[in-house]
């Protein structure tokens, strides 16, 4: 097997960056929607921003290649959890006006 020492890690880093960018866009949409809802909305927006910052900090070594990167790590469930969190928050905010 001929190796490709640089390419696969680099492609993976770029994939992480694209994913974090997508997460950032979703965070912006969530915050924008939450901020229309008074104090509770502002608190939810703050929680979304905190979650975004924590996820970004945790995934940073994978996105930049700094620090140790192991094949199996908690970063995968954490970033998936971030997506699920936005989905749950979105359902809550979308249904706010219904009842």
């Amino acid at each position: 097997m001929t190796g490709d020492p640089g390419l696969q890690p680099e492609r993976t880093r770029l994939a992480w960056r694209r994913t974090l960018l997508a997460l950032t866009a979703v965070t912006v949409l969530t915050v924008r929607q939450a901020l229309t809802g008074g104090l509770a909305g502002a608190l939810l927006a703050g929680a979304a921003l905190l979650g975004w910052a924590a996820t970004l900090a945790l995934c940073w070594p994978r996105a930049t290649g700094s620090g140790p990167v192991r094949a199996t790590s908690r970063t995968m469930p954490v970033i998936a959890l971030a997506a699920v969190g936005h989905a749950a928050l979105g359902v809550l905010l979308a249904l706010r006006g219904v009842w």
Partner: protein, 130 residues
């Protein structure tokens, strides 16, 4: 089920089965996971956008139904992505057959059917008429 969820957050256990594979296979598995996660995030973003940018529709709560359907679909895709990633990583480490899945086909059918329903709704004037 809780056992599987606990395993996602305990990478040591995943690392303890089988033998360490060629890192390129792990990286490919990781990129596939990320591609699925972006699919999920796109669906979640679409749901959030539907809730914020669609005007109230003539059919009661249709806007909320569209938004919640997209959000739930996006959340499901994200959860399934991490589960499939863990099961694939395990199979690679054990040298087993990769897990097969109906999920991509089901998702494609669900998205296609939803789009078709929206086309019908637009043509019927339920959506898009001010």
């Amino acid at each position: 089920m809780w056992e599987a969820i606990r395993r996602w957050f305990d990478p040591r256990e995943l690392r303890s089965v089988g033998s360490r594979p060629d890192y390129r296979f792990s990286l490919a598995n990781e990129r596939t996971f990320l591609a699925w996660l972006r699919t999920g995030l796109a669906l979640v973003g679409g749901g959030l956008a539907a809730a914020q940018f669609l005007p109230p529709l003539p059919l009661a709560h249709l806007r909320e139904v569209i938004a919640v359907a997209l959000l739930l679909l996006g959340g499901t895709v994200a959860v399934r992505a991490v589960d499939h990633w863990a099961r694939t990583e395990r199979a690679i480490r054990l040298g087993e057959e990769l897990p097969a899945s109906r999920f991509p086909a089901v998702l494609a059918l669900a998205v296609g059917l939803g789009a078709l329903l929206l086309v019908v709704a637009v043509l019927a004037g339920t959506v898009g008429r001010r």
